[in-house]
Symmetry: C2
Subunit: 165 residues, 2 copies
Amino acid sequence: MIEVLRLSHRIGRDPRLSTHVILTARAFGAEKVYYSGDHDKSLEDSTDKIVSNFGGPFEIEYVKNPLKLIDDKKKKGFQIVHLTMYGKNFEKLKLKKKVLVVVGSEKVEKEFYEICENISVGNQPHSEVAALGVLLYKFFGVKKKFMNPKIIIEGLEKGKKITKI
Amino acid sequence: MIEVLRLSHRIGRDPRLSTHVILTARAFGAEKVYYSGDHDKSLEDSTDKIVSNFGGPFEIEYVKNPLKLIDDKKKKGFQIVHLTMYGKNFEKLKLKKKVLVVVGSEKVEKEFYEICENISVGNQPHSEVAALGVLLYKFFGVKKKFMNPKIIIEGLEKGKKITKI
């Protein structure tokens, strides 16, 4: 079970980046994204619309206190992996069955570094979106099957093949 | 040799997403990013600052006519790979030595589909940033060595190790 926690979402500044985090999480097999920061109804609506069109299961939930969420998840046996350019090499990581991947924004408070396993996809300035994608791809691959889609796209070298149900 | 072409950058709407494309390209071994759309001096300056601090070689160049760039690159023996949710599975791709990866924004004109190899990282709504990261990671891995950095970060499980030169 893979879940993702997106920290410090800001309406106005981050709408598209948070959307990219959400789409990436879903495409590589996460079934839930939590986000903290600003409560953003339009982010939730656009996520629900994607799920309604392209299938699930996948849900989004706002959390006011992300440290408490991490604490609760730990008690439920989740491994907490925080993606940061300062962390140890993700290729050495061993993943458990239940994983919460924590994805920061520009500044992440010290407390998160203290309670998470800090993992990096390269120790360079990076995109948290790409780092999340590469981590999930390496461990879980591209998700192939979604439930109850209204739209199915099949890959072609030329042209587009779109089935509407 | 890996290069990336970011289509239709828009000042105001895309500054952070284009930055994410650029950081991702650099972290996985690309040595150059071209971008079309709005000419954006601040995007170029922030890229140059990253390279000055964390090392290169890596450069950014604005192009007015991306179709002409693709044509020129083809003549120089580049394989042109366009990332799109409608393309064929990237895991079946065979890469040549010189590759230009084309990364779209929301709408990509039909002409690009006609002259590129259209490749997908999953046929789901996706982040072009994550798709670029996963494609480059699969074929080239995380870039380990950068030339002339002023700042070097070493990954640790706890804490930060930053060397300034």
